[in-house]
Amino acid sequence: MSWVQAVSLVQGAEEEGDVFDEEADESLLVQREWRSHMQRRVKEGYRDGIDAGKAVTLQQGFNQGYKEGAEVIINYGQLRGTLSALLSWCHLHDNSSALISKINNLLDAVGQCEEYVLRHLKSITSQPHVVDLLDSIQDMDLCHVAPAEEKIDEAKDERFCENNAEFNKNCSKNLSLVDCSSLECCRAQEHAHPENPSLTWILEQTASLVKQLGVSVDILQHLKQL
């Protein structure tokens, strides 16, 4: 069991049976002092350890998250920029307000998609750790867990990477929200999320809009990667 957990367990037990006993053995007192001193040392060490560990990985995590965030969201930005270009084209050529309001609707839709994706990106990073589960299993005192401990530690890292890879794979290959919502690794608590327009639909609408404007669909070439 973890030393830190042991500390809190012992403290809990002591607080319960804390009766002032005049006939207490002096050695008992010394034992208690010793114990509380050592408990303090463990806690101090734990706090120092947390600070040190954090300092090491904070920047690393930031760089990773930054890359992921940028790579996923840039495609939505491109779509918005494209629609904005079409919008400004319409304004210049005095096109019908119907088309203009259609483009504005699509712009809003992309904005919604973008927000949705960003929220899911953030929720991905706060997954429960296998280590926490392992501690719970250990507490249940199942003796056959011990040898499996090492495998689980490796699996923890693997699974974290795997989940991220899966998310990235799904998001970069096909940004359709229908796929995003089926990602197991998301574990979104927002099951009752309002209907979000699908990216595919938006792209189709954009293409038809371009045709309506009498412009070649080639100008949407750069969106193919979506």
Partner: protein, 137 residues
């Protein structure tokens, strides 16, 4: 006396050991906490930049298509500025937070974009949903 010294050593060793054990556990915990926290912040910032750059890129590439094949002198000036803008955007490492000229290059791109827009005489309305620089003309 040797006995006392041994006892003292044992106490110091135990003291250090308890601290070390706590430290070890804390370090592991802190490492993953730092990773999570770092990633959350990073994701937000990366998305902000990706969103903005993506916008400029989509806008510029679409306009390149729209202006394609136009031969007037005014249009050729627009094309020149547009090509410069596209060049800047393509070269920009949008996914690298450690890029040392991140802010300067981003500002140059913004400036070039504004120049292009004024040549076009357009005012794009980029509803940038992620918090931060909203574009307004």
């Amino acid at each position: 006396m040797a006995g006392e010294q041994d006892l003292l050593d044992a106490v110091v060793m135990a003291d250090e050991r308890f601290h070390r054990e706590g430290y070890r556990e804390g370090y592991e915990e802190g490492s993953s906490l730092g990773m999570i926290e770092g990633r959350q912040h990073g994701t937000l910032h990366g998305a902000k930049v990706g969103s903005e750059i993506g916008c400029y890129r989509g806008f510029a590439l679409a306009w390149r298509g729209l202006l394609h094949g136009r031969a007037t002198e005014r249009d050729s000036k627009k094309m020149k500025v547009l090509e410069a803008l596209i060049g800047m955007i393509q070269k920009f490492p949008y996914d690298d937070p450690t890029y040392d000229r991140l802010h300067e290059d981003l500002d140059r791109i913004r400036g070039k974009f504004k120049q292009f827009c004024s040549l076009l005489n357009v005012q794009p309305d980029f509803k940038i949903s992620t918090e931060g620089s909203g574009l307004s003309f």
